[in-house]
């Protein structure tokens, strides 16, 4: 596969009031055209930072990002971002939100009528054609995220960057959104980097899962290739041994090798692995719960001591 995007020795230090904070170090990653890569790791490890460096919203202190042979120095529409909090302009309708992007990118390249068709096409793609003229305040969280995706897709990006796009959604809506995204992906074959907290989501959607170590100075711990055939069906995969093996690999990385210990009481020794790693509750770690889920694993022995 042809390499589209390459991160070489990427590192970043943030200046903080308490001195400089090294968030990332030695991040190396090659992504091929049409590949779907997810980034998974505990909350605060630096996933968004990696994505923002690729987007050009943050500048790497060391190393750099090269897209199609050109170094990334600033943000641009060929690296469209879908943010966790939809980031739609609340005073514009779904249509107008997409329109803002389309007008900007296809100015002089498409006629007004073509632009209109293109906006409607993208909103239809994410099943938002029925609520095109509603404002973000009038639609649900899932619908807002759909519009955000439509806006990004409408930009025809070379790389689509998704920062926990479904993190704020309930489980059922999230499953719908994942199916929609897979469907779109099978048509458009975009190159995608997606951050997720959800192990199932990562395995279901990705070609490769990039697992990040805990910060500070976080880097890529392991990369898991997901060679499950497409189209993937979540129900059929639930009993699939290859699927479950992959899931298990990710869970093992997150809760065994990169168990988050720094937030907990020092009494729970980091060296001693918890009795049971795969708890039903810990299977998928959603936004905001990432810290809580492993905590329940570690706290169990403590309760027995006390």
């Amino acid at each position: 596969m042809k390499t589209l995007l390459e991160l070489t020795q990427v590192g970043i230090e943030f200046k903080t009031p308490k001195g400089s904070f090294k968030a990332l170090e030695n991040v190396n990653l090659k992504i091929g055209t049409g590949e779907f890569v997810s980034l998974i790791g505990h909350s605060g490890c630096g996933k968004s930072t990696v994505l923002n460096i690729v987007a050009g919203l943050l500048k790497a202190t060391t190393g750099g990002v090269v897209l199609e042979g050109r170094e990334v120095n600033e943000p641009g529409p060929e690296r469209a971002v879908v943010f966790q909090n939809h980031s739609l302009l609340p005073w514009l309708t779904a249509y107008e939100n997409v329109e803002l992007a389309v007008r900007q990118i296809f100015r002089g390249k498409k006629t007004r009528a073509e632009m209109k068709d293109w906006i409607e096409h993208n909103l239809t793609l994410v099943h938002m054609d029925h609520a095109m003229h509603k404002r973000p305040g009038e639609i649900s969280g899932g619908m807002k995220q759909r519009v955000g995706i439509a806006r990004a897709l409408a930009m025809e990006p070379k790389v689509l960057l998704l920062d926990e796009p479904f993190g704020a959604l309930d489980a059922l809506t999230r499953a719908h959104m994942q199916d929609s995204l897979m469907e779109i992906q099978s048509d458009l074959k975009n190159t995608v980097i997606m951050i997720t907290h959800d192990v199932d989501e990562a395995v279901l959607l990705s070609d490769r899962i990039v697992m990040m170590t805990n910060g500070p100075a976080a880097t890529i711990g392991e990369i898991l290739t997901v060679d499950l055939p497409r189209p993937r069906d979540r129900l059929a995969l639930a009993d699939d041994s290859a699927y479950n093996h992959l899931r298990h690999e990710v869970l093992r990385f997150l809760y065994e090798k990169q168990r988050k210990v720094d937030d907990f009481t020092p009494r729970s020794s980091a060296a001693k692995p918890p009795a049971q790693i795969v708890e039903p509750k810990a299977e998928s770690v959603h936004a905001g719960e990432a810290d809580a889920a492993p905590q329940s694993v570690v706290e169990q022995p403590q309760e027995k001591v006390a």
Partner: protein
């Protein structure tokens, strides 16, 4: 207790009681408040003896409202008569000489209370609009540039607390010096409007700046990813996003403008409500206190209506309909 047999009636009864509470809150309680106020006023006023006679009670004030209305009606009749006479005169002159160039004059009667209200409104809006024209662009500029903000903020903090009474002599003298065209717009009007402007600039300026600085970083990132240029960024991201804050500022500004106006008109002798109060005070007739009270209530009612107007505007432009605007 006896809860079980009344279960089917529970819901309508609940609704009825909330309806009752609502009417109570909206009509009955305000009515009581007003009644108690009037009573206290009546009792207290009867005990205050001034050099101009007894302090006016509610009845006295109602009488003055009527008196002021009659003055207004008489004046209107006189104005109508004036124009009829003028038209007649011109028609006669034309009949005698077809080449006669008529000279139309406007009726210049003694300013009535109603006229004074309109003068006040005109003056306050002039000052308020001038202030907004300065404050909104400047607020956007200092909101966008931290350096500009650092440079200007101390000045804002310095000028913000200055009373209109302090500005007025300065403004009066400067206006007299700069504005020499004495038969155009009256100086007192310009002086009052500028004083209003100087005092009501600040809330809009600060609110606009805060609105602009608090544009969500997500939206700024959207703008960066789309590579919007500066004008597009300001027009499609910054401005709409700070509109609610700007309007909150405008509402505060108009409130201050109205308050400042009365003082400014008193001192600048602009023929509005402020001058009305001052003239009555100087007059010192037995009716003066009552007429001043009428002016006070008028000032209050108009201030309230202006605020209501701004509130309606504020609600209509708010894109965040969940935000409680009151």
């Amino acid at each position: 207790m006896s809860a079980s047999p009344t279960v089917p009636h529970k819901m309508p009864r609940l609704e009825l009681s909330t309806l009752l509470t609502k009417t109570l809150r909206a009509i009955v309680l305000p009515f009581f408040g007003a009644a108690i106020f009037l009573l206290l006023w009546e009792v207290t006023s009867s005990k205050i003896q001034t050099s101009l006679g007894q302090f006016p009670g509610p009845g006295q004030v109602v009488k003055q409202v009527h008196g002021l209305y009659l003055e207004f009606r008489d004046d209107q009749e006189r104005a109508a008569a004036f124009y009829v006479r003028q038209d007649q005169r011109i028609a006669d002159a034309r009949a005698a000489d077809p080449n006669y160039a008529p000279e139309y004059r406007t009726y210049a009667g003694k300013p009535t209370f109603v006229k004074q209200i309109f003068t006040s409104l005109k003056t306050v809006f002039t000052g308020f609009i001038l202030a907004s024209l300065i404050a909104i662009p400047l607020g956007i500029a200092i909101g966008l540039s931290a350096n500009l903000y650092a440079a200007i903020n101390p000045l804002i903090q310095l000028f913000k607390p200055i009373s209109p009474l302090a500005w007025l002599p300065l403004v009066t003298i400067v206006v007299s010096a700069v504005y020499t065209n004495s038969d155009g717009i009256p100086k007192s009007y310009i002086t009052s409007a500028i004083t209003v402007m100087l005092c009501c600039l600040w809330p809009t300026l600060l609110n606009t700046a805060v609105g602009v600085t608090s544009v969500s970083t997500d939206l700024i990132n959207v703008s960066r990813v789309l590579c919007l240029n500066w004008t597009q960024h300001v027009r499609s991201i910054v401005l709409p996003s700070s509109v609610p804050m700007i309007f909150a500022g405008l509402r505060l500004s108009l409130g201050i403008a109205w308050m400042v106006l009365i003082a400014a008109e008193m001192l600048a002798q602009n023929p509005g409500l402020g001058k009305f109060v001052w003239d009555e005070f100087q007059n010192g007739s037995s009716e003066s206190l009552g007429r001043i009270m009428v002016a006070i209530f008028t000032i209050g009612v108009i201030g309230y209506l202006l605020d209501l107007l701004m509130l309606t505007l504020q609600r209509s432009v708010a894109w965040d309909k969940q935000a409680i605007v009151r």
